[in-house]
Symmetry: C2
């Protein structure tokens, strides 16, 4: 099991990335890590070199680089070399906390799509407020526009992931829509509804509304990339804003607030944990020939390690290989 | 100033509606109320009959009625009669807490569009977590699909409202998009961006992301009805879910939680107030020849009274008349 790691991507690279790899190594002695980036910078955070190969390069893609251009011009960037390794079979998966657009481009143009998949989608397992299960949602913004057939493929992709990687026996697949009735929605969602209804390989439960997402209305939620992106950012903005406001309210309440805050510290801390997306792993650009995984740029070692566990499960269950076989039959 | 009130719409009608009217009457002795619905049921909640006319009807539209059919077939429903009064100039605005789809249909087919407006949009003033100003967002779901020209008109409509009704001198208009750069987005948002940029009557500040909405990134946010609906419901779902979870955490924390909760009661209560959409008034179906205003079905007397104040301001400032004049010139 070989994972190509873009050691230079993210706000705290290479330190957070390399420290995360060191954590992950303890849980997964069966992974061989290829760390792409500045050897000297990487080496200072290595505490143990077993199963580690450093592939030195001076070039890297910056967070403000224009994605497609960067991939084409920076031929020796750490992210590009890592993607190349996957393409050529020298590695099984790629991990990066760098420029999202560039990773999407590297995934599409270097790693390549599974035959039969038209538009790979960005998928995350999102936390549910009640219960521990979470739900997989895609597309979260790999595409600005989607056709009904894409949403159909997302339903199959998400269902495969929930079943094989998350171990949910018969994942409930919902279509994000502006009402629950079959006749509701845009042309896109109305047509997608019919495709999902006819798809025998999934357990389609119909339309779900954005209001019910965090209460676990479905295990897999499919939507177009524009709406998915807006919903993801709205959840983040609302949750983060509210948590900040609560903290502010506690501070403003003076002594009274301090006492209250002290007694509620554990309760509020648990809540923060629950809403912490990074503990649920990274976002998968799903529909490619190998796992391509992205975490937040601000990601720390713990989240890197979580995400590597996620990749480990994806490789162990061979979810991508199973998808390839499925789409060959279709 | 005459307001046609659908006294039978909403989960707690007619009681909540009539009690709300009674509250509003105290602040606005210049409003004449026309209450449409069952006279007997309405009369028992009337504490003062000045400026009140009851127009009796036995028929009403239910929350699960198919909107367009209901409007066409239930010719004497309280909502339809109220809309008819506005159409015929016997009332200046209509208020309802009933079936949203039916009110949209009554607005479009009975009250009618302002000449030049293609697709009226549903608009609400949404709370901002930091500061008291809030922002107006449309379309929140009157349409399942929109064209760039509609978004252009929403920018003008929202800007008029923010300026005239909310008194913001030079409202910042943002386009909801999946990135802040001008080149980002779907075909719809890219084209809308260019239209908004060229529109001299508004103060366009560019794209805004869903993550920044609740921190007051713009005073007016325009989007298509499908995305707007998803974002609105995501805010509601996330905020309500989190508040519930906090309450749960406090309870679970046992004695410690009780002490903490006691000390933080005021702080958390203030937060709930802030996120209480009803205190910001109702949703306006904007772009029609008269104010058509909807509140939540579960609305209570206080929220009804708030919404009537909002209608009062809309009539006082003649925002619809000004819009008519503006679109005549275009």
């Amino acid at each position: 099991m070989k994972i190509a790691v873009d050691a230079m991507g993210g706000d705290f690279a290479p330190q957070a990335i390399v420290e995360g790899v060191m954590l992950a190594k303890k849980n997964h002695p069966d992974i061989e890590f290829q760390l792409y980036g500045k050897e000297e910078a990487i080496r200072q955070y290595l505490t143990d070199e077993t199963n580690i190969t450093i592939i030195h390069t001076d070039e890297k893609i910056n967070s403000d680089d224009e994605p497609v251009k960067a991939i084409r011009r920076k031929k020796t960037a750490s992210m590009v070399l890592a993607a190349q390794a996957v393409k050529e079979g020298r590695a099984d998966a790629i991990f990066s906390a760098g420029n999202t657009g560039a990773l999407l481009a590297a995934g599409l143009f270097v790693v390549g799509r599974i035959k039969g998949i038209e538009r790979p989608g960005l998928m995350s397992t999102m936390p549910v407020l009640t219960g521990d299960q979470g739900f997989d949602m895609l597309d979260l913004g790999a595409n600005a526009e989607n056709k009904p057939e894409h949403l159909h493929q997302y339903a199959v992709l998400g269902s495969f992931y929930a079943k094989h990687v998350r171990g949910i026996a018969n994942p409930r697949v919902g279509l994000l829509n502006n009402g629950t009735e079959e006749t509701k929605g845009s042309e896109l969602t109305k047509e997608a509804f019919q495709l999902l209804k006819a798809e025998k390989s999934i357990h389609f439960i119909g339309n779900v509304e954005a209001r019910e997402l965090l209460t676990g209305a479905a295990d897999v939620v499919v939507t177009d990339g524009f709406t998915g992106n807006a919903v993801l950012k709205t959840i983040e903005g609302t949750a983060m804003g509210l948590m900040k406001l609560i903290k502010g309210s506690i501070n403003e309440a003076g002594a009274k607030g301090k006492v209250g805050g002290f007694f509620l510290k554990d309760a509020l801390y648990g809540l923060k944990d629950k809403m912490d997306y990074s503990s649920h792993g990274g976002a998968v650009l799903f529909g490619l020939k190998a796992p391509v995984i992205k975490t937040h740029g601000s990601t720390g070692p713990e989240a890197v390690s979580h995400t590597i566990s996620q990749i480990h499960t994806m490789l162990e269950t061979n979810v991508v290989g199973q998808l390839v076989a499925f789409f060959e039959q279709v």
